[in-house]
């Protein structure tokens, strides 16, 4: 059964993946979560698994998450992963760098945690394959995007009045003499410190425990892609469209270009989050942001909701949630009946 005594080591976990890839399996049981899906699709790509079930206990491989941590069960035998993401145990190859680094990052976002030591170890191993790992601002793709857009796309940490708000983002930067077109690398240390101070001051309004460590963190880049921005894009499209994009991204990682392009295009105009009301089954949020999970992420940080209920979005077309929020046979946005 489960081994709670020791943290697994890298070699043991790698062997585990080899076990999965070596044999022909029928299916893998997983949760409808980005990291479970990325792991499962990697087994489609390299192994002989050809189905993912979200409910069948028949499957020979099962991805399990409970209060003790994560486990992979193979034919009834449980292997302990600690808090490490499922994706982090996959053999490292140049073809799978993007799925692995975004899978690890998406796991930390959904679970509201930092990278584990094991995951940092993996990211360090990837440096020799071209990954750039640095301590820097936790805002999406500051290497490629103008700062105002990076700040606008910051879902984690959520920056009050700035996340989703183009005008406010530009205005805040102008107050500290940062131009609309400036990237992070264009600004000097004085401006950077002013920016960090502004962000932290803004954060403290909603979270008195917010610290510098939550905005300056380990950041993983590969080519022109940032694992944080990719993670947000994967959550967004899994919510709004369903599994297909995530699958194609794992199978052919250059699909990331399409996803990032569409993600930026859809969010570039900004978005609002207005009233939050609680019903028996949902937190109903008035918003033009289409992703219930990204809204949930924002509202959890601002202390407006708890994790115990799914989020539904209210807009002109009705009230919608997604399969990431509720068990559903449909993917993409699911219209719900609501008598508010």
């Amino acid at each position: 059964m489960e081994n709670f005594l020791k943290e697994p080591n890298k070699e043991e976990l790698r062997e585990l993946t080899s076990k999965i890839l070596a044999k022909e399996w029928t299916c893998i049981k997983a949760s409808f979560k980005p990291e479970d899906l990325i792991f499962s699709f990697l087994t489609f790509k390299y192994g002989k698994v050809n189905a993912i079930s979200f409910s069948s206990d028949d499957c020979e491989i099962q991805l399990i998450k409970n209060n003790s941590g994560k486990f992979i069960s193979i034919e009834g035998k449980h292997y302990y992963l600690g808090l490490n993401s499922f994706v982090s145990i996959f053999p490292l190859s140049i073809d799978d760098i993007l799925p692995i680094i975004s899978g690890i990052t998406v796991s930390t976002i959904i679970e509201r945690r930092n990278y584990s030591d094991f995951e940092i170890d993996i990211l360090n191993d990837l440096i020799k394959l071209g990954v750039i790992l640095e301590e820097n601002l936790k805002i999406p793709n500051y290497k490629s995007l103008p700062l105002f857009f990076s700040l606008m796309l910051s879902f984690d940490p959520y920056i009050p009045d700035i996340t989703g708000n183009r005008e406010n983002s530009i205005k805040m930067l102008k107050e500290i003499n940062i131009q609309e077109t400036d990237k992070l690398e264009d600004i000097d240390e004085t401006k950077l410190n002013s920016l960090i101070y502004k962000i932290i001051s803004s954060e403290l309004k909603i979270n008195p425990k917010f610290s510098r460590e939550q905005i300056i963190t380990k950041r993983a880049y590969y080519l022109e892609y940032d694992s944080l921005e990719l993670a947000f894009a994967l959550i967004y499209f899994l919510d709004v469209k369903g599994n297909g994009d995530l699958f194609q991204f794992v199978i052919s990682p250059n699909y990331a270009e399409t996803l990032i392009y569409k993600f930026r295009e859809e969010l570039s105009k900004g978005f609002y989050i207005k009233d939050v009301s609680e019903t028996a089954n949902y937190y109903v949020v008035e918003s033009n942001l289409k992703s219930p999970t990204l809204i949930q992420l924002i509202l959890l940080q601002s202390g407006k909701i708890k994790r115990n209920k799914p989020v539904a979005i209210k807009n002109e077309e009705g009230i919608f949630t997604s399969r990431l929020q509720i068990p559903s046979l449909k993917e993409g946005l699911v219209k719900i009946e609501y008598n508010g």
């Binding site: 029928t26 299916c27 489609f44 050809n50 189905a51 993912i52 079930s53 069948s56 499957c59 046979l329």
Partner: protein
């Protein structure tokens, strides 16, 4: 009878509506013939009818492929070809999510595969030929790029 139907189908641009009752008697006779006789003459007779049936099939298919609506006893049966055309077109034009010749699909109804039960909402990766078979039974739906 079958030769008249083939001739009629050849002469008309639109597909004719073929009723099975018009062919039933012939089918019964040919079955008896196959069972009863084994000589060259009767074999030749059956061969001629097989060729006529094949010609009718090809005529009907060509009209279906041109987008014409088939009516009659074979309409549901020939819709499989329409489905085949849709799957083929969608696959080659990037409408499906694929890994080589396999397509990612949703499970629509509970079914078993290699002693494992899959449920509605599960995902399965299948080669083209299996996709066609299982779509026909409404067991699966390919995921589409929107």
């Amino acid at each position: 009878m079958l030769d008249e139907i083939v001739l009629n189908e050849t002469l008309k641009e639109e597909p004719t509506e073929i009723q099975l009752k018009d062919l039933n008697q012939l089918i019964v006779q040919l079955r008896k013939l196959r069972r009863k006789y084994n000589d060259e003459l009767h074999k030749k007779e059956i061969e001629i009818y097989e060729e006529l049936a094949e010609s009718l099939f090809e005529l009907r298919i060509s009209k279906l492929v041109e987008g014409k609506e088939i009516k009659g006893f074979d309409s549901d049966f020939l819709q499989v070809l329409n489905l085949m055309k849709i799957i083929y077109t969608n696959f080659l034009s990037g409408k499906y999510f694929n890994l080589e010749d396999k397509i990612l699909c949703y499970v629509n109804v509970k079914f078993s595969m290699k002693n494992k039960t899959l449920h509605p909402g599960d995902l399965i990766l299948l080669p083209l030929r299996q996709v066609l078979a299982l779509i026909t039974l409404n067991y699966i739906t390919p995921l589409e790029v929107e």
